[in-house]
């Protein structure tokens, strides 16, 4: 709409990322390889685990029902048949114990991947996550490391109600010593997980239930997507939409619709919340002059407040043509009824409306 930004209206290109010009939720930072096949997000996660386990004997997966059952969301699938019950290990229902066991196994030289069936159940394991895994390296003055990955699906949209639908990334992102990853594409689900497994620190990987069945191109090789690089999913001149998780495809769909209305929206996906590549975000906001921050989690204290704070603390502050705006889940537990559940978190229409308003009003 507006085109008077004094930094020009050209494409916003993130440092270290390749801008994606199509509207699809594809992309990532993989160096060019042979035309990638299409996999679902959950297949991509599985492939990453399989490749990591093949390459490194110390990598293994454990968690509730990850074996014969194949995981509550089918993510581990047939891995138990390929790697055996020792390396794809069913556990009793005891989240604190198994995360603690991952800490211990990591300290003793393994590279465990622990699956928590729903990210809501990390609440059971917060001591081992936040007080142990995150802090041991520091508390021991660097004398030991805790390489481990905790994978857990978050998000609403499945009618599973308040205790099975949360988006808890803000809890983890607030804990120094953790890294926090939220992949939104199949390619990133694989590439970021591979980086997480390589990392000598505890990494929380928050997958999204609604994305598990989404497909996208995924390189066959074990191509790493580095932690800490914001992906520019779409360039745009009028407003920068920053979104995470399932809000990324929604933001992209919204951007398509906004484009037909003459509003040019950039869509940025931080992918890693900790460490956060805020530079790419700040650069984009400085260019567009407007920021719409979209998260599924309830508004108060969500991670988008951190991004808002960083934007206004940055040089982009002087370039703002509109207040930095958040579009968030309502401050309610996720309800069961489908129409209420829909109303509780941002939908494509909401993004279109809010972004349009930001651009038109300011």
């Amino acid at each position: 709409m507006t085109t008077t930004s004094d930094v020009g209206t050209g494409a916003v290109t993130a440092a270290g990322t390749e801008p994606v010009t199509g509207g699809a939720a594809a992309g990532g930072t993989a160096p060019a390889v042979a035309e990638p096949r299409t996999l679902t997000y959950s297949e991509a996660v599985r492939e990453a685990m399989a490749q990591a386990m093949t390459a490194d004997e110390s990598v293994f997966l454990f968690g509730e029902d990850v074996g014969t059952y194949g995981g509550a969301f089918g993510v581990s699938g047939d891995l138990v048949h390929r790697f055996g019950t020792e390396r794809v290990r069913d556990t009793p229902i005891s989240e604190l114990g198994i995360v603690g066991a991952a800490v211990g196994a990591g300290l003793a030289g393994m590279r465990p991947i622990v699956e928590i069936q729903f990210s809501d159940f990390t609440a059971q394991a917060m001591d081992q996550i936040a007080n142990q895994a995150a802090k041991i390296h520091f508390m021991l003055g660097g004398a030991a490391t805790v390489p481990m990955v905790l994978r857990a699906p978050g998000g609403s949209g499945t009618g599973a109600a308040a205790q099975h639908s949360q988006s808890l990334e803000a809890w983890f992102a607030h804990v120094p010593g953790l890294k926090v990853v939220m992949p939104s594409t199949a390619a990133d689900a694989k590439g970021l997980l591979l980086s997480a497994i390589d990392d000598p620190n505890p990494v929380i990987v928050l997958e999204h239930k609604l994305l598990y069945k989404q497909s996208g191109p995924v390189p066959e090789d074990p191509v790493r997507v580095p932690l800490g690089e914001t992906a520019v999913r779409r360039t745009g001149a009028d407003v920068t939409i920053v979104a995470t998780g399932v809000m990324v495809p929604r933001a992209l769909e919204a951007a398509e619709r906004l484009a037909t209305d003459g509003v040019s929206a950039a869509v940025l996906d931080p992918r890693t919340l900790r460490p956060l590549d805020d530079q790419t975000i700040v650069d984009s906001v400085a260019a567009t002059g407007r920021a719409l921050l979209v998260q599924e989690a309830p508004r108060t204290g969500g991670f988008m407040s951190e991004i808002a704070a960083r934007i206004v603390e940055s040089p982009a502050f002087g370039r703002l043509q509109a207040p930095v705006s958040r579009l968030c889940g309502l401050d309610v537990p996720i309800p069961y009824a489908p129409q209420l559940e829909q109303a509780a978190v941002p939908q494509v229409d909401d993004i279109v409306a809010k972004a349009g308003e930001l651009v038109r009003r300011w």
Partner: protein, 342 residues
């Protein structure tokens, strides 16, 4: 009390079990036909446990329930239409459509809630027991949970609190042999889960969970013990779920034969045999509690209740998104549903 000898009790037990069965069959069907959303955990095959246990309770007694909680809710006396309305996401549902299957509860009958968190209700039960005890009340709390819950830290901590404070709580484990897919043989290093009880200094007993009489007997003892200040007990009821864990279950972790062998031990069929005198073990001198037509009456009653509930619930208004943010916080001075003050 002898459920199998007293006609009134026999009818109540049988009707309750049939109601649970029919309710869940209906739910299963509606779910398959796309009329319900979310996920469902059915307790078909396990009906004897809530039935036998709740018949040992009096008005005012509490229960805490689980993700597989329809049976507990029904056995404790909830209204089927409000339950069905909840599953259909109606404003008239017990939770006004906010909770769904995993949070359904009729607080008025002392049900402090189903729970989506495995073992989540266990320390809550201890707390309710503590409240009773501090008020000098005589209520008892029955806490239902599965075998899988017994390995959770919450279970351990909740049971210990009840044990050291002699709280009036009966811990009822529905051991259906599996967590989601992990069998008790792999998740435990002991033969019976009741062995865990000793470590807390409370009685632990294992019982045939497909026999409502057997469940009733041991829970009655435990309730009496609790009510008279004797402290908590642990009851392990051996049973089996016929259906998958939830909708996504492909039953890869157990054999068709195993499922079949448990279906042959149908708790309802067995109870019908027992109460009509058809069971071999019944002494010929005892007259059967129920006739075939009594049994048929129970079945029909259950079926009709469920049908009626579906009809009423279906006609009710959908949960209203306009009031979505209403019940996040209770207003000042809100009454406490679960008990009296001071």
């Amino acid at each position: 009390m002898t459920l199998t000898a007293d006609p009134g009790l026999a009818k109540h037990a049988l009707t309750t079990m049939w109601t649970i069965r029919r309710f869940e069959e209906a739910v299963d069907d509606m779910f398959a036909r796309g009329l319900m959303h979310g996920t469902m955990h059915l307790s078909i095959g396990q009906e004897a446990v809530p039935t036998g246990a709740c018949m040992a309770l009096s008005e005012g007694d509490y229960i805490t329930s689980t993700h597989r909680g329809h049976g507990h809710c029904i056995a404790k006396g909830a209204k089927l239409d409000a339950m069905m309305a909840e599953l259909l996401a109606k404003e008239t549902g017990y939770c006004r459509g906010r909770g769904g299957s995993m949070h359904i509860a009729d607080v008025a009958t002392g049900n402090l809630g189903a729970n989506g968190i495995v073992a989540g209700g266990v320390p809550i039960a201890a707390g309710a027991g503590l409240a009773v005890r501090m008020r000098g009340g005589s209520q008892v709390v029955v806490s239902f949970f599965g075998d899988g819950a017994v390995n959770e830290g919450a279970w351990h901590e909740g049971v210990n609190l009840a044990a050291i404070w002699d709280l009036p709580v009966v811990f009822v484990c529905e051991n259906n042999r599996y967590g989601m897919s992990m069998s008790v043989d792999r998740a435990f290093n002991v033969d019976t889960l009741a062995e865990r009880a000793r470590g807390y200094g409370i009685p632990g007993v294992t019982v045939d969970g497909n026999d409502p009489q057997a469940v009733h007997d041991v829970v009655t003892d435990a309730v009496q013990r609790a009510r008279s200040g004797g402290g908590p007990s642990f009851v392990e009821a051996l049973t089996y779920r016929w259906k998958g864990h939830s909708k996504s279950d492909k039953n890869l972790y157990r054999t068709r034969e195993e499922i079949e062998s448990w279906r042959e031990r149908d708790p309802i069929a067995a109870f019908e045999s027992a109460v009509t005198g058809a069971a071999a073990a019944t002494a010929p001198s005892v007259p059967p509690a129920l006739s075939e037509s009594d049994v048929e009456e129970c079945r029909i009653l259950a079926r009709d209740r469920v049908r009626e509930a579906i009809r009423t619930a279906s006609a009710a208004p959908d949960a209203d998104a306009a009031t979505l943010t209403d019940a996040v916080y209770a207003p000042a001075g809100a009454p406490i549903a679960g008990g009296t003050r001071g």
